[in-house]
Symmetry: C2
Subunit: 202 residues, 2 copies
């Protein structure tokens, strides 16, 4: 297997943390996204979506979408389970993970691409949409703070993929100055807990 | 189990088709979304997200998010598999399903809520974002038409959840007059094929 990614970007970090939690090491290759390498034929021939991260399997298939790459790793290396162990857990983790993606991670991405310089490329920008997305992300942080008053991790009592995506989203929110965790006691405690895991350095 | 839903809405239809393909019948209850029932305490106490569809399990847990409900059904009733059978298939189906959701289904929802009367409620609207989303959805239909020139179903040679979400999205696109399938030969053929399955009437 080989992971195409970019150090410092939030989406590849989701996969790196997931792999670290499984103690799985695979070779990586950096795709120079700011330099446009993700839109050149060498990469597009492998991965028509042009998105990173992307995982090339040992038989040459390419899987993109961070969560789908994690699904593949989870199936190959089920222990420790990061996406639930039985039907109810799997559905519940998936529900919380989707909520983190849709209400927090993606809105932060929209803020980054629409209301800041983003990647400095010439994509369509709608600053008002970016600002609305920023407020949506902030509202979600408040909801998560309330949630984490009564549970240790986002999808319940077990650390899992929803925590990984939330950690990457919140660290992005902090670097974009969208959030100051001092405002959120329970979220702050959760953030300290998940950031102390060795995988967070991945 | 019990499914809270609303006839005629695209998201509940995804779950109804999924259940029909599995030949699983469960009781349903209609939540009067246009009348605001999804925001009343009786429903919010069960399902704090306020979203439909939502599935109540036999032990009283409530799962929202259409894809997470499908995950639960897939785990309980694995045959026929609609989300892949082995690690590579599961990841590949998940990747295509996410692409259909992110590039087609969600943009159509954004067009509906931002650029049309939508549900007639007082939510934030950004008409320019809605129009951009409409164009994004149309561009994705063109890509899908190209894809379906060389395969029978969206995630490969097997019908699955990506086809179900795409069918619901495309029927929504037609009702919103975003798409006329006569423009897309291969997508049109695929649409005839999946619409002829008995589950499409669900």
């Amino acid at each position: 297997m080989k992971l195409y990614e970019h150090p410092g970007f939030p989406n590849p970090r989701r996969v790196r943390i997931f792999l670290a939690e499984k103690s799985v090491e695979i070779p990586t290759e950096t795709i120079d996204v700011p330099g446009g390498a993700h839109q050149r034929p060498e990469f597009l021939n492998k991965n028509p979506s042009g998105l990173i991260p992307a995982l090339e399997t040992d038989t040459g298939e390419v899987i993109s979408e961070s969560a789908s790459i994690c699904r593949y790793i989870e199936e190959l290396y089920p222990t420790p389970a990061l996406m639930g162990e039985n039907a109810l857990e799997k559905a519940t983790v998936d529900m919380w993970h989707r909520r983190i993606e849709n209400q927090l991670f993606n809105p932060l991405g929209a803020y980054f691409h629409h209301s800041t310089q983003g990647l400095g490329d010439d994509r369509y920008r709608n600053a008002e949409w970016g600002e609305h997305s920023r407020e949506q992300a902030r509202a979600e942080l408040k909801k998560l703070d309330t949630l984490l008053a009564s549970r240790d991790y986002i999808s319940g009592e077990q650390y899992g993929i929803a925590d990984i995506t939330a950690l990457c989203a919140i660290d992005l929110a902090q670097s974009l100055k969208v959030a100051n965790l001092d405002e959120f006691e329970h979220l702050h405690n959760w953030h300290s807990r998940v950031s102390a895991r060795p995988s967070a350095a991945a």
